[in-house]
């Protein structure tokens, strides 16, 4: 047996700006085992629910993460709405869907940029982030914020989009779709990128299920599970099929995310064409009492929002299981047997969001 050594990886590493630490057990250059250690940015946001009014907590829930902030606010609101038996107006559901899909585009473009950066393809990284800027401008126009939107409230949304804004969004995504093509081409057809991604970190379907993978991670091994198909918000009225790939390697994960950007464009277009007129929120009186597990599909995968209420304005418990929590164990599986130099790229292909995970 070759001599074993342990190499610390992180908590600060150039590949991702968030703190995650791994102890890599190496045999020569091959990773035998990886022991993760998180907990550098635990803020106890779940605990705050006990001292903040449940209507106010929406603003805290969306500050769990800077990238999936819209989804966190929406997931929390939907679980409280479900407990209280409140049905948000249809227009609010459509607006939520449009913003959610815009978040997905922005998250996936961010990830593509980071992936290019991890491979050292700097110009591709800048190109991806330049494209992402356009969707951030649309967020700025419609909500007033670039990453924290504060538009969700229990019973609907706070801000409406007028026809000018909807037009601006649909024009922007038409333009973006055109500009995404050469970028997607570079990710999927470039020889060097292909050599770097193909066959790296293969996850088998049965392995993915056992390790609890979610989101693009699960779909890249050919399992068509997308929580949007549960039909929350306006997704039951829109037509789409989960994007899947069959190889389960890093290339497949990249491919799934790129196809999902195109799918999000199509969903935004559908939602804009079908959006009904009407009120954007319903008044909510009283306090929730009950519990519910809400599942929504975040850009990184399925997220679980558990709310337990006791009939007062302070909730008993709010639990948020983020997609990255579920994706860390499969990531450790992927690392067994890979080369030390591939570790940064493998961490990145799960699209980790550590501050989400620790809340």
């Amino acid at each position: 047996m070759a001599k074993r050594s342990i190499v610390p990886f992180g908590p600060q590493h150039p590949v991702l700006p968030e703190p995650v630490h791994l102890d890599l057990v190496l045999e020569d250059e091959t990773v035998v085992e990886a022991v993760p250690s998180i907990g550098f940015v635990h803020r106890g946001l779940e605990k705050l629910v006990e001292i903040k009014d449940f209507k106010e907590y929406v603003y805290i829930a969306e500050r769990v993460c800077g990238i999936c902030s819209f989804g966190h606010g929406m997931g929390y609101c939907q679980s409280v709405e479900h407990i209280m038996g409140v049905e948000p107006p249809r227009r609010a559901n459509y607006l939520r869907t449009i913003w959610m899909e815009m978040s997905r585009v922005h998250s996936h473009l961010l990830w593509l940029g980071l992936l290019a950066d991890a491979m050292g393809f700097e110009s591709l990284f800048m190109e991806s982030w330049r494209l992402r800027e356009k969707i951030l401008d649309m967020f700025d126009l419609t909500t007033g914020g670039r990453v924290i939107f504060s538009v969700n409230c229990i019973g609907g949304v706070l801000k409406d989009m007028d026809s000018g804004m909807l037009k601006a969004i649909s024009d922007t995504i038409d333009e973006m779709e055109k500009e995404l093509r050469p970028i997607a081409e570079a990710f999927l057809r470039d020889y060097t990128v292909g050599v770097r991604l193909r066959g790296l970190g293969v996850l088998k379907p049965e392995q993915a299920i056992l390790a609890g993978a979610v989101g693009p991670m699960l779909r890249s091994c050919g399992i068509a599970y997308d929580a949007r198909k549960l039909g929350y918000a306006a997704y039951n009225e829109l037509e789409f099929e989960p994007v899947t790939a069959s190889d389960g390697d890093s290339y497949a994960r990249c491919e799934v995310r790129i196809q999902e950007i195109y799918q999000s464009f199509a969903l935004i277009r559908q939602a804009i064409s079908k959006i009904p007129e009407g009120p954007i929120r319903v008044p909510v009186k009283g306090n929730p009492n009950g519990e519910y597990f809400m599942r929504i599909e975040q850009p990184r995968g399925e997220a679980i929002y558990y709310v337990k209420a006791n009939g007062t304005k302070f909730l008993d418990r709010f639990r948020l299981r983020t997609p990255t929590t579920s994706n860390i164990p499969p990531m450790l599986e992927l690392m067994k047997g890979c080369q030390l130099a591939d570790v940064p790229l493998l961490i990145l292909t799960i699209d980790p969001c550590i501050s989400c995970t620790e809340r």
């Binding site: 605990k47 549960l230 599942r295 418990r317 164990p329």
Partner: protein, 115 residues
Amino acid sequence: MEYLNTIEPITMEQFLPMVIQFKMDGWRLVQICACRLPEQYELSYSFAKGFDMRTLRLTVGEDEPVSSITQVYPCAFIQENEVAELFGVKIESMENDYHHKLYRIARDTPFKEKG
């Protein structure tokens, strides 16, 4: 399009056999959550297959040990450590036990008391 999303209260004896049954039927572990009750804990283990989700609800006393499910689902270790560390639930024979060192926090079991 109604999919299963149920919460099923179970006893400690039923717990591990049901988890093993879930694994044999190809369900995946979705989440583990603890909640504080007066002198008790409420543990929820959710499993999903396709779009169906079932949650097992276990109520345990404050000092009552709960056996770990990491032998069945190794991926449960992060969430089990979290439950043990934030709430002080006694989870036994955990693989990858971090011994309250998962999160770098100043206080032991901060979620155990209210407020």
